[in-house]
């Protein structure tokens, strides 16, 4: 019990009546404003997900793990899970390696260049994913622009297969998701005061040391957000692996749709729960990555 005499350290702004037991909390009228949206999401979002979760344990007229057996023990289900994790991991890695230097270059560029790059990132990010996947389909064809360019440069003698291959799929997806990494990292980096860099230079820090000890720790919260968004969107994407990966590249999202088309709703639910689990773990880990560094800073 908090006694009245005890000083409330560091909580001076909080009204004292909230701390004392026995006195009812006054309901703030502003608080009521969250109710319509919360109620809506409870009915149209949380309840359906709960029902789906329950449905994933339904097989043969009773409760069972049969659906999960088919996802995690069956070879095709296992392949879908492994493909999804590998595909999303490579894409996320590619986006970090390309996106962080891009965001760093943006912060050092003039205001005009920044504006141009920003528009050039926002336009593809906000345009239809169907349109963008379609563009990559054309680029990747055997007689497509990439093969023609590589052949006329003499780098290859015969067309390389890009469409319906895993490396082609990964390259295209990195291009499609790159803005989702660049923008949050840029948003964090541009808040770092320029004096910090000058101070590090004055103290004799070289470029590598400066990157490792100044820029990277400060950019980590932005990188963590980027990792969470890029990984979850890549793992969740149905259209990109369908159009660019071909029929022989099962992923979790494709398996969800296929199960539904084959009227195996409960199996589709189990695939959904596994996909949610994979995404959830990565989002949680990236959240810790962002927070840890804030704490040790």
């Amino acid at each position: 019990m908090t006694s009245v005499a005890e000083p409330v350290v560091g909580r001076a702004s909080q009204p004292i009546y909230e701390k004392r037991a026995g006195i009812r909390h006054r309901i703030d009228p502003w608080q009521l404003l969250v109710l319509p949206a919360s109620g809506y999401l409870l009915l149209a979002f949380a309840a359906p997900l709960a029902l789906m979760f329950a449905g994933s344990f339904y097989a043969g007229g009773g409760l069972s793990f049969e659906n999960y057996d088919r996802v995690l023990l069956d070879s095709r289900g296992l392949q879908a899970t492994a493909n999804t994790i590998r595909y999303a991991t490579w894409v996320t890695l590619g986006c970090v390696l390309l996106g962080v230097p891009t965001a760093m270059a943006m912060t050092r560029a003039s205001a005009r260049t920044q504006m141009i790059v920003l528009i050039g990132m926002l336009l593809p990010m906000s345009s239809s994913i169907v349109v963008k996947s379609f563009g990559w389909m054309i680029l990747f064809r055997r007689t497509g622009l990439i093969n023609e360019a590589l052949m006329s440069l003499g780098l290859i003698s015969a067309p390389v297969a890009l469409l319906f291959t895993e490396h082609g799929l990964i390259i295209a997806t990195i291009s499609l998701k790159l803005p989702l990494m660049v923008l949050p990292v840029f948003a964090v980096l541009r808040q770092i005061p320029g004096q910090l860099r000058d101070a590090a230079i004055t103290l004799g820090a070289g470029p590598v040391y400066r990157f490792r000890r100044v820029t990277l720790p400060l950019a980590l919260p932005g990188i963590a957000v980027g990792i969470a968004i890029v990984f979850s969107q890549t793992a969740a994407s149905y259209l990109i692996p369908t159009l660019l990966g071909g029929g022989r590249y099962p992923t979790l999202s494709k398996s969800i749709v296929e199960s539904y088309v084959a009227s195996q709703a409960a199996l589709g639910s189990a695939f959904s729960v596994v996909l949610l689990g994979v995404v959830g773990v990565v989002v949680w880990l990236s959240g810790r990555l962002g927070k840890n560094h804030q704490a040790t800073r």
């Binding site: 009521l32 999401l41 239809s128 996947s133």
Partner: protein, 267 residues
Amino acid sequence: MNPGFTTLKSLARGLWLALALLIVNAPLIIVLLVSLSSSPIFDLPRDGLSLRWYEKLFQLDSIGRPLLTSLWLAVSATSVSLVLGTACALGLSRSRFAGRDLLVTIVLSPMMLPGVVIGIALLFYLRALGITNSFLSLFIAHVVITLPYIVRITLAGLSLFDFALVDAARTLGYPPVTAVIKVLVPNMAPSFISAAVFAFLASFDNYAIALFVGDVYTVTLPIQIINYLSISTDPVVAAISVTLLLGTLVSLLITERLVGLQRLAGA
């Protein structure tokens, strides 16, 4: 530092940025080029530009209905989301209560969750409730997926708004609701506009939910384009795509005029 070395560095930086922009925009550039080609299959315009696929676009009657469905869906879902989401953001920014952070996470989570999962979950649920109207089902789902955009952008805008202004207006004699309408709404207009634009685009582009919840009579535009892609190699798809792209560009430019893109990227 050596001035020659500095120039070299800024040149390298410029090249890197140009390369990043090329990588990200490559699919859009190629679609634009294909749409201007006269060849009957997907090909680059080799002998002159042509607008024949754009002409064909206007004769196509299978695109009008999906376009109207998508527009009507995006407008209605965005409007309802804007009301629910603004109220929610106001409540979240003005009060502290147990479970507030949890509520923020839940409200924002449809943005992180796979669209196909939301789609399949809603399909079961609405069937169990006996709701079979396809447009109504799509509408219910699209409010869920647009709500996070509204709440996130409005919440970011509200964190910069000084609520003392509302109190000042009340001291000067406005009743509470009038004070909010006269002071808060004009101040928050940029946030409302950018929130609405992003919510609209999220709804208009969404294909994952319509894969499950749509039916033959309620086909949205993205689904119709996917159907086209799987049956023909007619470059009219490229013309449709470029038209959509222009729509996106116009809405981004309007937002940039009214709000400023820096703020959008940071939000």
